[in-house]
């Protein structure tokens, strides 16, 4: 700030001297040229003033960034910014709470959104827990049950040999009907045939207000709720001795066709609040809640009235609802930091453990996609069977069933099970067709960021996307698309190249620790070169976690 002060003083002084010097020269005969000289002087004066204003304004912005004061979204400029003048007004329900308006991002609008109503008829008969869903766990975990065992919801099914204290618990009660193995005898899924009336393992939950953190952790480990916590960076299950700097929860999902979490938490507010209370005991820092400020109406009162947490509001297109983006804006992950993240329904499961003393993995799942007869919400449990959820609802045979959303989900066979974290099933068309001159004159409109498609003529249109790649894989080209859809202060393309080159210092410097696959997924969607960015990022994260 000193520098700008000096510039502010010195430059006008120079100008003044120049003016005086000029005034002392004898006046030319013609008055025309006099006017010309005065005009020039006036223009140069204006330019100098403009430069001073610009320099000092930029210095101010740099200083604000250095101090981190600009994170609040406040304007440190002398002038109002364009978005302040023309942006839609802050919603009234914010009432002065911190808001982040993210301008970068993209909403992929797809057909097949589920209406806010639960179809109670759809039930899944079998459920499964898949060791492959958990990162860092050995592919052949130590089984604690065998085929034919009877389990209650909450009974441990298996544990990792390196961390035996973390139990992976049965989501429902019933009989173990199969332990399916994959390549090299890795355990793919442990299938449970569910009871009609759920039986729960009895828990005597400690009072989070009175017990110590150690007792609480021991209880969570034993009850099977621990693996629901994910630790950033690297998106792994935390070790029992890890203490998080902060815990972050995003209360809205902006992914294509994602379930409306306001609808999902209806009637489960008490359990959610209890879950937040417990999380507050687990961290040395704070529990942060990312709230949705996109709509005209406030989100569910369960979120807005949540107590004991720090609330930040976010507005913008996808990926504004991703917890990684929110962490980046609220309090970024630096080297050595460990933060925990949890989904809303996982927090509810955690809370139910304390309010009702049982391991209740009820999940409201959105069954969505253009290839369904009726997109709908269903109430089921964790790891439900996909063929049961989709029975009689598929339009065609040639479809792709995805556990999760179209950006980050996993391609599943129809007989497979919903992944551990997923609260959404998406069904889209397989796109294995040739398209004549598809690169020049495509046969149908498709979701795209590119202005070479006339999509801007049909705002609000929804698309039937399929799994065609619409082009071949190419080398990275500097198009600026990644930066356009990633609301973070980092250079995704440079990062990807650093990962491919295996350069650790560069990877860390370019912010790999802040990223998770879901954050980069939209970049992968937009990529002209059809590069597998999520795959590359995971390679990089694995390299980094092996090093640390």
């Amino acid at each position: 700030m000193m520098k700008s002060g000096i510039i502010k003083l010195v430059l006008p002084a120079f100008l003044l001297l120049a003016q005086i010097g000029h005034a002392q020269t004898p006046a030319p005969e013609k008055s025309d040229s006099n006017w010309f000289v005065y005009g020039l002087a006036a223009i140069s004066l204006l330019i100098v003033i403009y430069i001073i204003v610009q320099v000092s304004e930029n210095l101010m912005a740099i200083e604000a960034k250095r101090l981190g004061a600009d994170k609040s979204g406040a304007n440190f400029s002398l002038f109002p910014q364009m978005r302040e003048l023309f942006d839609t007004k802050r919603p009234a329900y914010l009432s002065g709470q911190p808001l982040f308006s993210l301008r970068r991002g993209f909403d992929i609008k797809l057909e097949g959104e589920a209406p806010s109503q639960i179809n109670a008829k759809v039930k899944s008969a079998t459920y499964a827990l898949m060791p492959a869903n958990f990162r860092g766990i050995f592919p052949i975990p130590k089984m604690e049950v065998e085929v034919g065992s009877i389990v209650k919801a909450g009974d441990p099914l298996f544990h990792d040999k390196s961390q035996p204290e973390i139990k992976y618990a049965a989501p429902v009660s019933g009989e173990i009907v199969a332990i399916n193995r994959g390549e090299k005898r890795a355990i793919k899924e442990v299938v449970i045939l569910a009871d009609m009336d759920m039986k729960y393992r009895e828990f005597k939950a400690p009072d989070p207000g009175k017990c110590t953190r150690e007792e609480l952790v021991a209880f969570l480990l034993d009850s099977g709720v621990w693996p629901m916590i994910r630790q950033r960076p690297f998106d792994v299950t935390p070790a029992p001795e890890d203490v998080p700097r902060d815990i972050f929860i995003s209360t809205f999902d902006t992914a294509p066709l994602a379930p409306d979490l306001n609808f999902v938490v209806e009637g489960r507010g008490e359990a959610f609040q209890k879950g937040l209370d417990v999380l507050g005991k687990l961290t040395v820092g704070k529990v942060y809640l990312g709230l949705d400020a996109r709509g005209d109406n406030p989100p569910s009162a369960v979120f807005t009235q949540a107590a004991g947490v720090e609330k930040y509001w976010f507005r913008g297109k996808h990926p504004a609802g991703n917890v990684g983006i929110q962490i980046h804006h609220i309090k970024p992950i630096n080297t050595g930091d460990k933060v925990w993240v949890m989904g809303v329904q996982e927090v509810i499961t955690l809370g139910t453990l304390f309010t009702e003393g049982r391991f209740d993995t009820t999940r409201v799942v959105a069954v969505t996609g253009a290839e369904l007869e009726t997109p709908q919400y269903v109430k089921t449990h964790l790891g439900a069977n996909l063929s049961d959820l989709l029975k009689g609802n598929l339009k065609g045979k040639h479809v792709r069933i995805i556990s999760g959303d179209v950006l980050t989900g996993e391609h599943k066979a129809e007989s497979a099970f919903l992944n551990y974290w997923d609260d959404q099933v998406t069904v889209i068309e397989e796109g294995d067709y040739f398209e004549l001159f598809g690169w020049l004159i495509p046969g149908s409109l498709r979701p795209t960021l590119s202005r070479t498609y006339p999509n801007f003529l049909v705002p609000g249109a929804k698309f039937r996307a399929d799994s065609n790649t619409h082009g071949e894989k190419r080398a990275f080209v500097v198009t600026g698309q990644y930066e356009q859809v990633l609301p973070m202060d980092l250079y995704p393309q440079h990062l990807m190249k650093a990962i491919l080159a295996g350069n650790f210092e560069k990877m860390e410097g370019l912010g790999i620790l802040e990223l998770s696959e879901e954050d980069i997924a939209l970049c992968e969607f937009a990529c002209t070169s059809k590069q597998p960015l999520q795959h590359i990022l995971r390679q990089g994260l694995d390299m980094m976690s092996e090093q640390s």
């Binding site: 294995d432 690169w439 979701p447 590119s450 799994s467 790649t469 082009g471 997924a521 002209t528």
Partner: protein, 185 residues
């Protein structure tokens, strides 16, 4: 051979490849479309460039002084000049691209479409064809393929070709053969 077949096939049809892991849907844009749209955007420059070559020619010999006089003749003359440049650029450049693509076993990348459209716009219209072929080959091999192909180059290939001509053959492009009419007087 397969590379060449593949290049022509994917020119006609978008392939039926589907996404595997990662995202399940992809943006409609691909490198072909990106590059072709740049070339389409350059067509206005081509139109004016073609006209300008003809205009300068007829201006030098003192015919059709008005801007629009003999418009068709000016355009035809411009085309006679620019088409050979366009063709030689593409034959040489794409030939090298195909060769390297088959050698390295990847698809023919579309980056040369834009380079090939820019070079005729940058070159002097009366450049000898052998110099043109030389400069294009130099630019593509040293400027791009030596660094690993499309997306890896550190200099602009079209500009490198122009720079090569400028430094290697200054006498051919700087007017010893024609000179300025004003200076002749």
């Amino acid at each position: 051979m397969h590379t060449a077949y593949d290049a022509f096939f994917t020119f006609a049809f978008t392939p039926k490849t589907v996404t595997t892991d990662g995202v399940h849907i992809r943006d409609g844009i691909d490198l072909k479309r990106t590059m072709v749209y740049v070339v389409l955007a350059l067509q206005l420059c081509y139109l004016f460039g073609t006209y300008n070559i003809g205009y300068q020619h007829f201006d030098a010999i003192g015919l059709y002084p008005g801007l629009l006089d003999g418009l068709h003749l000016k355009l035809v003359y411009g085309l006679i000049k620019i088409l050979p440049i366009f063709i030689v650029t593409h034959v040489v450049g794409l030939g090298i691209e195909f060769y390297y693509a088959s050698r390295k076993g990847h698809g023919v990348e579309e980056g040369f479409l834009v380079t090939g459209a820019l070079i005729p716009l940058l070159m002097p219209p009366d450049i000898p064809m052998w110099i043109l072929a030389f400069s294009v080959a130099f630019a593509v091999i040293i400027g791009k393929e030596a660094f690993g192909g499309t997306g890896m180059n550190i200099v602009n290939i079209a500009l490198l070709a122009r720079v090569f001509v400028f430094f290697a053959y200054p006498t051919y492009i700087a007017g010893t053969r024609y000179g300025f009419p004003v200076l002749k007087k």
